[in-house]
């Protein structure tokens, strides 16, 4: 097992720069998820760590050694692919043992490792089957088994759950987490699904346009996003962004959304934003759970207003509501008993204690 370090990694295809100077330190035993929209460079970064892509510039270190020119087979890594990439003509056991057989491990050792991995992944009874006789979830387990038996320094996962249906994805997510808890191998996991990233990772690396937007624990990214991209990417439904301005009124800071709607800021927020210029174009970032039905009593930082609901989506444990505010569609989350109905008005409350304020031009969170 080992740490992985990336130093100013650049990948250029002709004129296109896919990865633009990434620095990343992954600790031993850590589970790091690279997440971002398609084309953000996350898969390319993973493939460069694997050695499947040459790096244009920078250094990659695995276990402290620079591996820029080391071929994949000598990097002591194992990779799980999106389409499983199982060898179709081999049985599950042969698939799992292929790497070990190439390295001429003793047969007894190979058998022990396969048995152990098969038990861990609950595929003991499938061991003599061919890949075509397996379901998608079973194939992905075998692909993981193939990685585990190698006992590598680093696991690399390239969107391993994207080909599975929603239910199976949740199940396999838990399996992957369990496996990592048992084997504790340093893991780099690529996905475009932010839920997968949040639930699996020790730390999440949010990437956009070939750069790292933010690195942090799932909670940090959720509660303290550094940029508009991270704020909008992490969380489902996504954060609402409303154009706004700060203004001072009767000695109190207010946030003005429209001519008619302005909310007074709670004292700690007012102190935090006192350096922001009044009249500057800003964005108010509010997560849906911070727009709820109004309670009967007043609370500091909670401001009530009336809204005409466009659409409601009852989810069971909550109801998602959509309405227009300051010319934008806004999503909120209300209690299922809150009498939210399509086309009807509802008294709502925003929780400004959890608001985010962003610079509309730079996208930076203030």
């Amino acid at each position: 097992m080992a740490e992985v370090n990336l130093r100013k990694i650049v990948k250029r295809y002709d004129d296109v720069e896919a990865v633009r100077g990434i620095d990343l330190d992954i600790a031993d035993h850590e589970f790091v998820v690279l997440v971002g929209p398609s084309g953000c460079g996350k898969s390319t970064t993973l493939r460069m760590i694997a050695g499947l892509e040459d790096i244009t510039d920078g250094d990659i270190m695995i276990g402290g050694d620079i591996v820029n020119d080391v071929p994949p087979k000598d990097r002591d890594i194992a990779m799980v692919f999106q389409n499983y990439a199982l060898y179709p003509h081999m049985t599950v056991a042969e698939n799992m043992s292929f790497g070990l057989r190439l390295k001429r491990y003793p047969k007894a050792e190979i058998k022990t490792r396969i048995d152990e991995a098969a038990r861990m992944l609950d595929i003991v009874e499938l061991i003599d089957r061919k890949p075509k006789q397996l379901s998608g979830g079973q194939r992905q387990r075998v692909a993981m088994g193939r990685a585990i038996v190698r006992n590598p320094k680093v696991f690399l996962f390239d969107e391993p759950l994207s080909n599975l249906d929603a239910k199976l994805r949740v199940q396999m997510r838990i399996e992957i987490k369990k496996v990592h808890q048992k084997v504790r191998t340093t893991t780099v996991y690529v996905t475009h699904d932010q839920v997968e990233a949040m639930t699996l990772a020790d730390r999440v690396v949010v990437m956009n346009k070939g750069r790292i937007e933010q690195i942090g624990t799932p909670q940090e990214l959720y509660h303290k996003p550094a940029t508009r991209f991270v704020a909008g990417f992490i969380g489902s439904p996504a954060m609402n962004f409303l154009p706004c301005q700060l203004e001072e009124n009767a000695g109190k800071m207010h946030i003005r959304l429209t001519e008619r709607i302005a909310f007074p800021l709670p004292p700690d927020r007012a102190a935090r934003y006192q350096n922001a210029k009044q009249g500057e174009k800003l964005l108010l970032g509010l997560r849906p759970e911070h727009i709820t039905e109004a309670k009967g009593h007043a609370e500091p930082g909670i401001e009530a207003f009336d809204a005409l609901l466009d659409v409601t989506e009852p989810m069971g444990m909550e109801t998602l509501i959509y309405f227009a505010l300051a010319g934008k569609q806004v999503c909120g989350r209300v209690n299922p008993n809150a009498c939210a109905h399509d086309g009807e008005p509802l008294r709502l409350a925003v929780d400004l204690n959890n608001m985010h304020l962003l610079n509309e031009v730079t996208g930076a969170v203030i």
């Binding site: 087979k73 990779m79 999106q82 190439l102």
Partner: protein, 303 residues
């Protein structure tokens, strides 16, 4: 207007539930009609060959119904299979065809793997170039090739002309391009992640080819094998030009040169020889037909 039209169309339309639609029934009828026509067209010559092979020389030259055997005899078969010459042709053909298949596969498979997977400068142009060489007809090549091998004989003293094994060098000019092309298409249809997985597992390029690609692309390999075998077995022009001694001849040329003497055609034996000569490819096709079709379609859709 439109509502009215829909209302009228509804009840008038006859739909037969639980059976084939009329269109499909007619499509099937037409298919069977043309298939029968095609089968009759293509099976008539072999049938005529079979009928003639069962006749004696007297009956063949007599003015009787040529589509009926009045005095069936196996004399043609007995004579031909008892003649060392015919067996020699058969043996030469088998040696050449098997040899060509081996040579072709040894060249085509690694070439196709390199062109399909190892992206190097000019690989795409090379792949197209290989296929283009297949388009040059053998009738255009046989004279230059003959001169070449004659020149090799003059300079090195190694006499290849009029030896059956010269065909092992010549036939691959026909088989290698097409087989390489089939294999490129087949290899290209294997997901890239499979060789990446193999490389990460520690396999070299050669191990990836032999332990992953060849077993996975077996249907394509069989299709290519059948193609190479059939082309070699049926080739007429090259052996006619390059081999002349009776003991060096292959089957198609052997039958023509030994069973036609001047203007005397020994039709019974010619037909018997051709019929027996058609058997080996037929047997191979029958056994490997499923693989052959799978191989060709993979090539067709990917190419």
């Amino acid at each position: 207007m439109s509502t009215l039209a829909i209302d009228k169309a509804g009840p008038n339309r006859k739909i037969k539930y639980g059976s084939m639609s009329r269109d499909r029934v007619w499509a099937l009828r037409w298919s069977y009609f043309f298939l029968t026509l095609f089968a009759v067209f293509s099976l008539t010559p072999p049938l005529y060959m079979l009928i003639t092979s069962l006749k004696g020389s007297a009956e063949i030259s007599a003015a009787t119904n040529p589509w009926w055997v009045f005095h069936p005899t196996l004399s043609n078969y007995v004579e031909l299979l008892g003649s060392n010459q015919y067996l020699r042709f058969f043996w030469n053909s088998a040696m050449v065809s098997v040899g060509v298949v081996v040579v072709t596969m040894l060249i085509s498979v690694p070439a196709a793997f390199a062109l399909a997977r190892m992206k190097f400068w000019g690989s795409a142009v090379l792949a197209t170039g290989i296929f283009l060489t297949y388009l040059i007809p053998d009738s255009l090549l046989f004279i230059p090739l003959f001169k070449m091998f004659a020149a090799i004989g003059d300079f090195t003293g190694i006499q290849l002309i009029n030896r059956w094994y010269v065909l092992l060098f010549i036939y691959p000019t026909l088989t290698v391009p097409f087989c390489t092309w089939i294999m490129i298409s087949y290899f290209a249809s294997i997901p890239k992640e499979i060789d990446e997985a193999a490389i990460i597992d520690g396999a070299s390029w050669f191990q990836t080819l032999t332990r992953i690609f060849i077993p996975v692309a077996m249907p394509g390999l069989i299709a290519a094998t059948i193609f190479a075998f059939t082309v070699s077995w049926a080739q007429f022009l090259y052996p006619l030009v390059f081999t002349t001694s009776t003991d060096q001849l292959v089957l198609p040329v052997g039958i023509i040169t030994t069973l036609i003497k001047g203007d005397v055609f020994n039709w019974g034996q010619i037909m018997t020889g051709a019929l027996l000569g058609a058997a080996p490819p037929l047997v191979i096709y029958a056994f490997l037909m499923d693989y052959y079709i799978a191989g060709l379609t993979a090539g067709a859709t990917k190419g």
